[in-house]
Structures are given as structure tokens and as C-alpha cells.
């Protein structure tokens, strides 16, 4: 029987490297994929993953099973994503990069990326690229709501708490995001014709 997250946290706090490793292994893929969707490329996704787990490591003691581990993890991921995004923005500004259109560099990150990445098969790449294209249409705070709602199935209440906004605002952000992600009429035609 596998141990619960809470048991693994307790084990890690007691000094078991094995428990820590199991804990990270259990959640890293979820965080890496979250990072990929938020940042648009593997490198940033990996940076985020490392920072998230460093954050987890640094605050293990503060996690006392107050929330469930996953929600706690997402809160850290959420904050780290905002941080990382701010840093990247700052870097691109100081570096004099002018990004026309596209939010938070996700779009430019998509554009910069060639159509092939060696690791993944084409089908996964296409559906992922399409999802990334949709996500790149909205700013990070909306993208985060979409991430937490669609991919992590959090409630608007949980999302609102993380973003320190009202439940209504969370819903509005989600709706606004989906609205921007809907296919334009001509795109829909193209899809139907293909």
C-alpha cells in the first residue's frame, strides 16, 4: 500500500530521503506539465518545477496537513509561477526585447519554438501545441485560473483564495479566458472543412 502525502511529508521531516523522493516523484509530473502549460516550454517548466519543490522543501515544516497536500502544492506553484513570470518579464524588458502582442512571453516562446521537439510524439505535440496556442491568448492570472480549474479541478473558492480575489472574480476570469480561447468564426470554418 502506498503512503499518503501526509505520511511522506512526516517521513521527510523525520529525515527520510526516500520519503522525500517518493513525494517529489509522485507530484513532479503534475507540476512539470502545469509549468509547461503556463510557461510554454520545457526549460521554464523545469525551472518552475525545481522552484516549486524547493519551496515545498523550505516550508515542509509549515505544512501541517492544514489543507490537503495537493492544494498546498498548487498554492506554491501558483505563487512561483507568478514570480517566475515577473522575473522573465523583467528580463525581457531590460534585455530590450519588444514583444508585440502575446502575453507574458508565452506566445513568443511558442513562436520561437520549432515545430518539433525530439521527446514527444507528433500527436501529443499537436494537441499540446493547440492547447498552448489557446493559453497564450490570455494573461497569466487568467491562465492560472484556467490551469487550476480545468487541469487541476480546483473549486472557484480554492482558486479565489490562492489569488486573493473573490469567488465571483475567479469565475469572471475563467469565463473571460474561455471566451478569448473560443475559436474565431473563420477558424471554426477551417476546422469544419478539414
Amino acid at each position: 500500500m502506498s503512503k499518503s502525502d501526509e505520511q511522506l511529508v512526516a517521513g521527510a521531516l523525520a529525515g527520510s530521503a526516500r520519503a522525500w523522493r517518493q513525494l517529489v516523484e509522485r507530484h513532479e509530473s503534475r507540476i512539470y506539465n502545469l509549468g509547461y502549460r503556463l510557461m510554454g516550454n520545457s526549460e521554464d517548466a523545469m525551472d518552475l518545477t525545481q522552484e516549486v519543490f524547493l519551496g515545498v522543501f523550505r516550508s515542509l515544516q509549515r505544512f501541517r496537513g492544514e489543507a490537503n497536500f495537493r492544494t498546498w502544492l498548487f498554492r506554491i506553484a501558483h505563487n512561483k509561477a507568478v514570480d517566475l513570470n515577473r522575473k522573465k518579464k523583467l528580463l525581457s524588458l531590460t534585455g530590450g526585447l519588444d514583444e508585440n502582442g502575446g502575453y507574458d512571453g508565452l506566445e513568443s516562446s511558442l513562436r520561437a519554438r520549432p515545430a518539433t521537439e525530439p521527446d514527444h510524439d507528433l500527436a501529443a505535440l499537436q494537441s499540446n501545441r493547440q492547447a498552448l496556442e489557446l493559453l497564450s491568448r490570455v494573461p497569466l492570472e487568467q491562465r492560472l485560473v484556467v490551469e487550476l480549474k480545468i487541469y487541476q479541478s480546483l473549486t472557484f473558492e480554492e482558486i479565489a483564495q490562492m489569488q486573493e480575489i473573490s469567488v465571483n472574480t475567479a469565475k469572471t476570469r475563467f469565463y473571460a479566458a474561455l471566451k478569448k480561447m473560443r475559436f474565431a468564426p473563420e477558424e471554426e470554418h477551417a476546422l469544419l472543412e478539414n
Binding site: 521527510a12 521531516l13 523525520a14 529525515g15 527520510s16 530521503a17 522525500w20 523522493r21 517529489v24 516523484e25 513532479e28 509530473s29 512539470y32 506539465n33 509547461y36 502549460r37 520545457s42 523545469m46 525551472d47 518545477t49 525545481q50 522552484e51 519543490f53 524547493l54 522543501f57 517566475l84 522575473k87 522573465k88 528580463l91 521527446d119 514527444h120 500527436a123 501529443a124 494537441s127 499540446n128 493547440q130 492547447a131 489557446l134 493559453l135 484556467v146 480545468i150 487541469y151 473549486t155 472557484f156 473558492e157 469565475k171 469572471t172 475563467f174 469565463y175 474561455l178 471566451k179 480561447m181 473560443r182 475559436f183 471554426e188
Partner: protein, 421 residues
């Protein structure tokens, strides 16, 4: 004219705790309103596209294990870890060394973890180069969670400890010299074959008609005594069992393939059947002799000679066969052991060369410190511990000498005083 309620209604429709009356009301409206219906379809379309995301595998990374080990590993684990690389000497010195300052630096969005030593980056580069030189990365599945091939820890004032898990270790259970089965140290060839026979083949001689209480007046008494002295089980059986054992060792030492092994097994089984047949005939002969007191001594004696001759012939065939297989299995084992040692020697050589050539990145390691390399699972097996680690402790001063061409890599290996633990 577009519907003015779309946004409000659809936003509410998303709510987690939507009341069923509300749901029914909104659905009713959407069913009647083409604007809202179209918008809802679009939203569903977007959500559906997002839902097509296919999980990507996480690239390999350290999982902050090094950080964890330095900061959190508790006393008992620390001890166990130390125990691996410093079995006897200087253990008492170690306690205080685990207390190492750790700091984390953020620099322009990238993260650097420092363990309170100024050349952590160098260690990372160094282990990377080492893994490459030892060919550790090539065979590893990049997404295999157990593929942490080199794990490094730095202990201030002591030096760098590297745990190396080579591909050789993965194959070691097969390649490792057999300790337990070894014909050199087993009971197989010692004086008392019945000891190993006992569980394998039932003793047949004891089931033969009572020969110990032959009537002193029986006319064929001498013949019966002779018959009872014909070896029927022990030596032949012993040879057959030994042949089987050696055939198995031969196969396990990669000396023969499974087809050849099957053929050997057939030959051994044929011997066993022949032996059983002669035993049966001998039993019948004795039984007949006991009952038929009138039979002529001469013809009976001739039959007995014939049976004894067959049995003797069988015995020497079985013994020759066993001896031949023993010899083959021993040489197969010897070459397996040699391959194993060659592989390890080769690894040690590459290790020493790598230490010498990659040393440039670790020049900051203080000269009085050491680089301890634990080759997991590559130590000499002992009867008590079939799997041990091979440990080299290289003095930084020796490594520097090697890097400067004062000594060669082979000497470096020698000076590292390898031992198994």
C-alpha cells in the same frame, strides 16, 4: 439582436455549487436562445481543446535530493551513509562534519544552491564529466526514476563522496563469481558423497532384499554376499548428481547455452535410467537366487559377473562424465570471474583517468581532502554478504600529482587502496 443575458447566465453556469433550479433555468434559456447556445458551444469547444493536453514526461533532475541529504538527513541515516564509506577508521570524526551551512542564491531567474562550499558548481560539472567518461549515461533511460547514476555529497574538511551506480552493477548478480555453488569450496567433492545424495535420490541399496541376514546354510551364500557388495547406488548416483550440478554451474557461468544444457540433462537422465535398469536386474537376480536354491553355481556366478561388470562400467562412465563437466564448469567459472574482474579493472582505470583529466574542475578541493568513490555492488562477495561495494579513497594530493603527470592513473588507483565493504 444579440442576447443581453449570455455573459451573466453562462458565467453562473460555470459555478461549482450551481443550484439545480438555476441549472434548469439556464439550460431552458440556452435551449431557446440561439445566441447563448452558440456561445456555450464555443466555450465547450475551447475547454475541449484544452482538455486534449497529453501529459509530458518530466525530464530527469536531482529532485533536490542532494540538498535534502545535506539538510535533513537525520542522525541515523547519516550514520548509515557514513558507515558505507568509512567502515572502521575515523568514524568519530564524522559527526560534526554533517553540520554544513547551506545557502540558496537566486540569480536572474535561475537557481543556484550552495552547500556552503564555493565550488558546488564544479562538483556538478565534475560528476557530469565523470558519468560521461564512465559511460554511465548512455544506457540509462532518461526518465527512469532510479537512474540516478552518480550521487555526490560534499563533507567539509573531509572531501567529496561519490556513489557510482554503473551498468556493471546491474549485471553483477549474473556475472558475480559464484560463491555458494562453487565446486572449489562446496561439499560436492569432499569424501562423503552420500551427504549430498541423501535428499536428492532415495537410497536404493537399503531397499533391496535383506542381505545382512543371509542364512549361513544357503547354497548360494557366497554369491549373495558378492551381489550385496556390488555398488548399486552410492557411487553411481553420486557421480550422476555431480554431473547434474556441474552442468548447471556450467550453464550459469555462461559456459553453455540452454540447448546444450538440455542435451547434457538428457545424457545425465539416460545414465540414471541405465543405472536403474541394472539395479532392477540385480534385485531380480538376488531374489531369484534366494528362492531357486537348485540353480547351478557356475552359470549364476557368470550372470553376477556380468551384472557387476555393467554396473562398474556405468559407474566409470558417470564418473568420467562428472569429471569432464566439473572441469568445464570450473574453467567457465574462472573465465566468468576473469571477465568480471576485467570489467571492474577497466572501470577503475577509466575512473582514474577521468579523475586525472577532469581534475581541472576540482582544483579548488583542498589538498588534504579526498574523493571517495563508492562503486555500488562491485565489491568482492563474501559468504556472509554476496553483494558488497568497492570503495576507493583518492587523496586530492595524489589526484593533483596524476593531473600534473607525476604519477599515472594506475598508480593513482593503487594509492586509493581499494577495499570491499
Amino acid at each position: 439582436m444579440p442576447c443581453s443575458r449570455t455573459e451573466h447566465l453562462l458565467r453562473e453556469y460555470l459555478a461549482d455549487d450551481l443550484l439545480s433550479v438555476m441549472r434548469a433555468e439556464i439550460e431552458q434559456h440556452v435551449a431557446d436562445c440561439p445566441d447563448c447556445a452558440a456561445e456555450l458551444r464555443h466555450l465547450h469547444g475551447a475547454a475541449h481543446s484544452l482538455g486534449q493536453w497529453r501529459e509530458l514526461p518530466t525530464p530527469r533532475w536531482d529532485r533536490h535530493l542532494a540538498l535534502f541529504r545535506v539538510e535533513r538527513a537525520d542522525a541515523s541515516q547519516g550514520w548509515r551513509f557514513l558507515w558505507q564509506w568509512l567502515p572502521v577508521a575515523a568514524c568519530t570524526l564524522m559527526l560534526g562534519l554533517l553540520l554544513i551551512n547551506t545557502s540558496v542564491l537566486y540569480r536572474a531567474g535561475t537557481l543556484e544552491i550552495s552547500f556552503g562550499n564555493p565550488f558546488d558548481r564544479d562538483i556538478e560539472d565534475f560528476t557530469g564529466g565523470l558519468a560521461e567518461a564512465l559511460g554511465l549515461e548512455t544506457a540509462a533511460d532518461p526518465f527512469d526514476p532510479t537512474a540516478e547514476r552518480i550521487h555526490s555529497s560534499y563533507l567539509a574538511d573531509r572531501g567529496l563522496v561519490l556513489e557510482v551506480r554503473s551498468n556493471l552493477a546491474a549485471a553483477s548478480s549474473r556475472l558475480r563469481p559464484a560463491m555458494v555453488d562453487s565446486p572449489g569450496n562446496g561439499s560436492l567433492h569432499d569424501g562423503n558423497p552420500t551427504a549430498i545424495l541423501a535428499p536428492a535420490i532415495p537410497q536404493q541399496s537399503s531397499t533391496e532384499p535383506g542381505l545382512t541376514d543371509i542364512d549361513a546354510r544357503h547354497p548360494h551364500r557366497d554369491l549373495l554376499l558378492r551381489a550385496s557388495q556390488i555398488d548399486t547406488a552410492e557411487l553411481v548416483n553420486s557421480a550422476i548428481v555431480q554431473a547434474g550440478e556441474h552442468a548447471r554451474i556450467l550453464r550459469d557461468a555462461d559456459g553453455i547455452g540452454s540447448e546444450d544444457f538440455a542435451r547434457l540433462r538428457e545424457q545425465i537422465e539416460a545414465l540414471r535410467q541405465q543405472k536403474l535398469a541394472v539395479s532392477d536386474r540385480l534385485g531380480e537376480f538376488i531374489e531369484g537366487l534366494r528362492r531357486d536354491t537348485a540353480a547351478g553355481s557356475e552359470s549364476v556366478a557368470a550372470s553376477l559377473d556380468e551384472l557387476a561388470g555393467e554396473m562398474n562400467q556405468l559407474r566409470s562412465r558417470a564418473q568420467d562424465f562428472a569429471a569432464e563437466l566439473r572441469q568445464r564448469s570450473e574453467s567457465a567459472q574462472a573465465s566468468r570471474t576473469e571477465r568480471w574482474r576485467n570489467d571492474i579493472a577497466n572501470l577503475e582505470q577509466r575512473l582514474a583517468s577521468a579523475l586525472c583529466s577532469h581534475d581541472a574542475s576540482l582544483r579548488q578541493l583542498p589538498e588534504q581532502e579526498t574523493i571517495t568513490v563508492i562503486l555500488t555492488g562491485l565489491g568482492e562477495p563474501t559468504p556472509a554478504r554476496p553483494v558488497t561495494d568497492l570503495i576507493h579513497i583518492y587523496a586530492q594530493s595524489d589526484i593533483l600529482q596524476c593531473a600534473n603527470g607525476v604519477i599515472d592513473p594506475a598508480t593513482l588507483t593503487e594509492r586509493s587502496n581499494p577495499y570491499s565493504y
